[in-house]
């Protein structure tokens, strides 16, 4: 069951690349791929709306969020200290599917956020990441991800791992015989569409976590509807996880 609670931040930790980790006590246990709506819990009306944030980790009642500062809301949230009140509504949305065989988790930039928990919780025999960042300087938590599963890093400038895009790495892995049974992706839409192209070429099953501006996260405001090539979707209610066919023009 979802809940909306005001709770005190347990821990704040700065992370490279303009990111921070926020730990807050939260039940119930979320599913991988779900998200929460996060806002200030002190009654302020500015910023007004809650922000959708993925589950980075959840362990024994403690929810951890990985947040990148991109605008005013995330900037002010990042300035909160442990003890400050926040409102958390969730867990929301559907979840990533799993597979017993080989699962490849592909993330770009802050899109890596939901993949940590997804890989950690996956029952797949073979789990691995392909994580793409702009550069080594703008990468984060590389050690943490490596502890969960083997990581192939790629970057735009070659300063971290190989100089290529995540979808190119997936293509190369499949060509080398490492064929995933399931590809789980989160990142910029262009990246996810490119990954879908590769997945389709090889007949792989692929799912993607979409982004959209959200007002409520619970299907009430109809603000998050996006017209994807494959369908018009209410991201918070029907997703945020969608099958790769969403990137294909409807016939």
């Amino acid at each position: 069951m979802q809940r909306s609670i005001v709770t005190a931040i347990a821990d704040m930790m700065p992370v490279a690349g303009d990111c921070f980790l926020m730990a807050v006590p939260f039940e119930p246990e979320p599913l991988p791929g779900q998200f929460v709506m996060l806002s200030f819990g002190d009654g302020r009306t500015d910023p007004f709306l809650p922000r959708p944030i993925s589950i980075f980790d959840w362990e024994g009642g403690m929810l951890t969020l990985l947040i990148r500062v991109v605008g005013r809301g995330t900037l002010l949230l990042g300035r909160q200290a442990a003890g400050a009140a926040v409102r958390v509504t969730g867990p929301l949305g559907n979840s990533f599917p799993d597979d017993a065989g080989r699962v490849c988790f592909i993330g770009g930039g802050i899109g890596v956020a939901p993949l940590f928990y997804a890989a950690k919780r996956s029952k797949a025999k073979d789990r691995s990441f392909i994580l793409g960042f702009r550069s080594a300087d703008e990468s984060y938590l590389t050690g943490e991800f490596s502890e969960v599963a083997p990581v192939r890093f790629v970057s735009d400038d070659g300063s971290l791992g190989e100089k290529m895009f995540p979808h190119e790495k997936l293509d190369a892995l499949v060509a080398a015989g490492e064929r995933p049974d399931l590809v789980v992706t989160c990142g910029p839409e262009k990246m996810m569409a490119a990954v879908h192209g590769v997945a389709k070429k090889h007949g792989l099953r692929d799912v993607h976590s979409l982004e959209s501006r959200m007002g409520c996260g619970i299907g009430a405001c109809l603000g998050c509807r996006v017209n994807m090539p494959g369908a018009s979707v209410l991201v918070c209610k029907e997703g945020a996880v969608f099958d790769g066919s969403i990137f294909e023009e409807k016939q």
Binding site: T45, L49, G215
Partner: protein
């Protein structure tokens, strides 16, 4: 437990806290967060005769203490609403107020008649903040003569409580409120959103796909409070206050200036359980003071 009941038209609300159209989905979305039986009632998303897809592109943008939306009145249409949505909420022990709109008088009347056939619907709320296609797209809610004739036409086909929801995008809201009263409305609700815009300096484009949208949230409360006060002084029918309500203090302010009931809108997005908190808060507030709801309503000192 204080007696929080209020009478609007032929409907008795168990308390004056309602939720506003377009901010409460069709109801079930809020089941995890509050007890819907606790509410005085809720207004559905605006329903039209046929389903509507709404606007493409960015549909919401945050603004200081508020938000702009250009959802474009997306809804499932009256048939799907009556056949599929209404049965899901029929069992709630709370008033179901169906917000509806059309683009011509003919369609308003047809829709009101259709909705009136359902026993489970307690009241109809007529949204006038949409363009009249027959009159070159001018908004129904801006023309007092049109409001009066439209209200009268709808009044003829429904025995249900008829609420006319007023647009604040007018020179004098007391004029449009009086027109609704003259047309036979049982109550007026106000305010709908204020028209606004936002631009993205970086891309030098309008932020909303539709360029302009409706402003709501705490930012509009002073405007709403002023309009509710002015309206409550000049009409005899109940006034339902809407605009930026998020706290018990906001509810009390609206009741003080004469609102008989209130609707909570955008605040549902921030705290989906807020409406029930407000019911409980109002109950405690009155109990602690040993005051009745009737004594509170309209008791602002002038």
């Amino acid at each position: 437990m204080t007696d929080l009941r209020v009478h609007i038209g032929v409907t008795t609300l168990k308390n004056p806290i309602l939720t506003a159209s377009g901010t409460f989905g069709y109801g079930p979305e809020f089941e995890p967060y509050l007890n819907l039986h606790a509410l005085g009632g809720f207004c559905t998303k605006g329903i039209s005769l046929e389903p509507r897809a709404g606007n493409p592109g960015v549909r919401i943008v945050e603004t200081p203490s508020g938000m702009l939306n250009s959802i474009g009145l997306e809804n499932c249409g009256s048939r799907v609403f009556l056949d599929e949505m209404l049965p899901k909420i029929a069992a709630y022990d709370t008033a179901i107020i169906v917000n509806f709109y059309a683009h011509s008088e003919e369609d308003f009347v047809k829709l009101a008649a259709t909705l009136s056939e359902s026993d489970r619907i307690d009241a109809l709320e007529m949204n006038l903040s949409c363009p009249n296609v027959k009159q070159g797209g001018s908004v129904f809610g801006a023309d007092p003569r049109l409001i009066e004739s439209l209200t009268a036409a709808v009044r003829k086909v429904t025995k249900k409580t008829l609420i006319v929801k007023l647009s604040p995008n007018v020179t004098d809201i007391t004029v449009t409120a009086r027109a609704a009263e003259a047309g036979g409305a049982d109550a007026v609700s106000l305010i709908n959103t204020l028209i606004g815009a936002a631009v993205d300096r970086r891309t030098r484009r309008f932020t909303l796909g539709n360029k302009i949208g409706g402003l709501s949230g705490p930012a509009i409360k002073p405007v709403a409070l002023r309009m509710v006060w002015q309206t409550a002084r000049v009409v005899k029918i109940p006034v339902i206050g809407i605009g930026g309500i998020a706290t018990l203090g906001d509810v009390i302010d609206f009741l003080l200036v004469g609102a008989r009931a209130v609707q909570v809108g955008s605040a549902n997005f921030v705290n989906p359980g807020v409406a029930q908190d407000l019911v409980e808060g109002l109950d405690r507030y009155l109990a602690e003071r040993g005051e009745t709801l009737d004594a509170l309503i309209g008791s602002v000192q002038e």
